[in-house]
Amino acid sequence: MYKILIAEDDDMNKLLLRDILTYHGYSVIEASDGEECLKLAKSIKPDLIFMDIQMPKIDGMTVLRMLKDDSLTKDVIIIAATAFAMKGDRERMLSAGFDDYISKPIDTKQIPVLIRKYLGANQE
């Protein structure tokens, strides 16, 4: 079972993603700020992270850079899930090093498709 870390400070949005991921059979770990995300990412080593950008303590861009710079976590797939959805935001995120980008409001049906794109079929 793939482990997916959600880094998101908005409880409701965190809950939404968790429900979707759990429904599709993934193991979900949650972080409510950048610092917690960094800690959990290193200790649990998830297969994929959905990361908000605007977060307390450490913002998503900084967390991304720290994880990609760390040999322990550099191969983790990190997808930006953000309400920064103006023109150019997508390009900005991808060039910062995110593996992919989804804008809020998220397309709930796209979430499992996106995960399969990077991880393949879920393992039982």
Binding site: D10, M12, N13, L16, D19, I20, Y23, Q54, A83, F84, A85, M86, K87, S103, K104, P105, I106, T108, K109
Partner: protein, 581 residues
């Protein structure tokens, strides 16, 4: 043909001698030239010329002495002697008589006259046959004693030639006088013309709106026109004769010292220059901002400078105001962009939950919903999506306003896009029992090059308005055709409805953002009023136009034209971005 007649020329000036020689040779005479009296007498030892022409003033022996020698020599005395001279003084005439010369010709005569005179002398030698005179004529003139030996014929001939010369000179004088008088007339005319031109120039100078002054090479003001007086507050009398530096402020005054000398020495364009902005000092001590042009010119052999100044204080103030206003506008615009970006982020976060949870409930991820529950969740989702589209409209509009909206031109088939636009509002139309129809005057495969997504947005906005404002049981018709305007091809799309219509006085406000028409509409019909403003902006980004026709209470037609080929589209790659600002 007569044997060649010999003429002896005695002349010390080689140029005069040569001129005379050539003229006489051309007439067929044989010429001998001697350079003075001594040489002339020596030549006469062997030569018996028909005529002797002699200059008077010559070195060694002058013409009078030589002539006297000839006339005292029995072998030579019958040869006529012509003195080439100008006899102005009575004393000279008497000396000529004394020398026994037969005639004299003034040197001022032209060559033709000299030649005709010489010919007469040569062809009529008898006229000059000298009758021996036993008694010489003695007389006194101005206290001097003279003794003339010439024969009477000779003396008369000589005096006649003197008279001729005087008459000729008189005629010449009259001619010259006439010429002078002519010149004088011309001069008078020129002076009148000059005066008129001067008046004209002065008027031009005095009515010029630019200050114009001239300065000499020492920097002293030489002239100062009315506009200059007005700019600096000095009268011309107050500044003429003063150094130009009294009109200067520091640092120009300091820089000016010696700069004219440097300019004249080095010819470097240090002073003269075009369109420089400097400050000037007025009489009352105030400072005026000036645009100055300085040119140098030569007046006679003196170098002068003209300065043309224009008061740009107002222009500068306005420029500064404009700059300030633009800065303020930029700041405001930046603030607006920041605000919109922030707002977008803040609104999307709760919308994520509204739309996301509605979607997973409708997907029945967590169990079946009953009909009512399904209906309500669907309503929440619909409203959430509507809210999202409003946010997108606001952002789009602000992007158009700030010039950040980009067009991605690509080829697409018109009918396909029109059909799919109708499909989006179809559900809503069906609910209101509105009949929808499409009528195209071009083929089903007609394609255009434009931004497909934006075209859809335009259609969606017009169609949603039509559905919104058309009452139950009404009808909406989409018409399309090709038109030509100013040599370019356009498509014209019209959306006709049988809605409430618009009062003609309200039409101008229709396409303004946030200006949905006043009550009763605003109470009855929801919306931000952004739709038409956005549609208009998007059409105009395509270099097209929107229009509206409406009859209050009967219905409206909203339409737009856009070029079939997007301007500047170079073809090729789909998704090419063209940014308009």
């Amino acid at each position: 043909m007569n044997p060649k007649k010999e003429v002896l020329i005695v002349e010390d000036s080689p140029i005069q001698a040569e001129m005379l020689r050539r003229a006489l040779v051309r007439e067929g005479y044989s010429i001998t030239v001697a350079r003075n009296g001594v040489e002339g007498l020596s030549v006469l030892k062997d030569l018996r010329p028909t005529l002797i022409i002699s200059d008077v003033m010559m070195p060694e022996m002058n013409g009078y002495e030589m002539c006297r020698e000839i006339k005292n020599n029995d072998a030579l005395k019958d040869i006529p002697v012509v003195l080439l001279t100008q006899l102005y003084e009575p004393e000279e005439i008497i000396r000529g008589l004394e020398s026994g010369a037969d005639t004299h010709i003034t040197k001022a005569f032209d060559m033709d006259y000299i030649l005709s005179k010489i010919k007469t002398l040569i062809e009529n030698p008898k006229r000059f046959q000298n009758m021996p005179e036993k008694k010489s004529i003695e007389f006194e003139y101005e206290g001097k004693h003279y003794n003339v030996h010439s024969g009477r014929t000779q003396a008369i001939s000589f005096l006649i030639s003197t008279y001729e010369s005087a008459v000729w000179q008189n005629t010449e004088l009259q001619k010259v006088q006439a010429q002078l008088s002519n010149l004088n007339e011309t001069l008078k005319e020129k002076i009148v013309e000059l005066k008129a031109s001067e008046d004209h120039n002065r008027i031009v100078l005095e009515t010029a709106s630019d200050g114009i002054f001239t300065v000499n090479e020492y920097g002293i003001i030489d002239s100062f026109n009315k506009a200059a007086e007005h700019i600096f507050g000095y009268s011309a009398d107050e500044v003429i004769g003063k150094n130009i530096s009294i009109l200067m402020t520091e640092p120009y005054r300091k820089q000016f010292d010696g700069s004219i000398e440097r300019f004249i020495e080095t010819a470097l364009q240090e002073i003269p220059g075009n369109g420089r902005e400097i400050s000037g000092l007025c009489k009352d001590g105030s400072i005026v901002l000036l645009d100055i042009i300085i040119n140098d010119f030569l007046f006679g052999n003196k170098r002068m400078f003209t300065g043309t100044v224009r008061d740009i204080t107002h222009r500068k103030e306005n420029e500064e105001k404009l700059r300030q206003a633009m800065e303020n506008a930029d700041t405001a615009n930046k603030a607006k962009s920041d605000f919109l970006a922030g707002m977008s982020h803040e609104l999307r976060t709760p919308l994520n939950s509204i739309i996301g949870f509605s979607e997973i409930l409708l997907e029945e991820m967590f169990g079946k919903l009953n009909e009512k529950q399904g209906q309500y969740v669907s309503n929440i989702l619909g409203s959430g999506n509507h809210l999202l589209s409003l946010i997108n409209d606001i952002l789009d509009l602000s992007k158009v306003e700030s010039g950040k909206m980009e067009i991605e031109p690509a080829r697409f088939v018109l009918k396909d896009i029109l059909d799919s636009s109708l499909l989006i509002v179809k559900e809503r139309a069906i609910k209101k029992n509105i009949d929808m129809d499409i009528e195209l005057e071009f083929g089903p495969n007609t394609a255009i090059i434009a931004d497909e997504r934006k075209f859809k947005q335009i259609m969606f906005n017009l169609l949603s308005n039509a559905v919104k404002f058309t009452p139950e049981g009404g009808a909406i018709k989409v018409r399309g055709k090709k038109i030509t305007k100013g040599g370019a091809n356009y498509v014209e799309i019209m959306v006709e409805d049988t809605g409430i219509g618009i009062k003609s006085e309200d039409i101008p406000r229709l396409f303004k953002e946030f200006s949905q028409l006043e009550s009763p509409y605003s109470k009855q019909y929801k919306g931000t009023g952004l739709g038409l403003a956005l549609a208009k902006s998007l059409v105009e980004l395509h270099k097209g136009e929107v229009f509206v026709k409406s009859e209050y209470g009967k219905g409206s037609t909203f339409g737009f034209t856009i070029p079939i080929l997007f301007p500047d589209y170079s073809g090729g790659s789909k998704g090419k971005c063209i940014k308009y600002s």
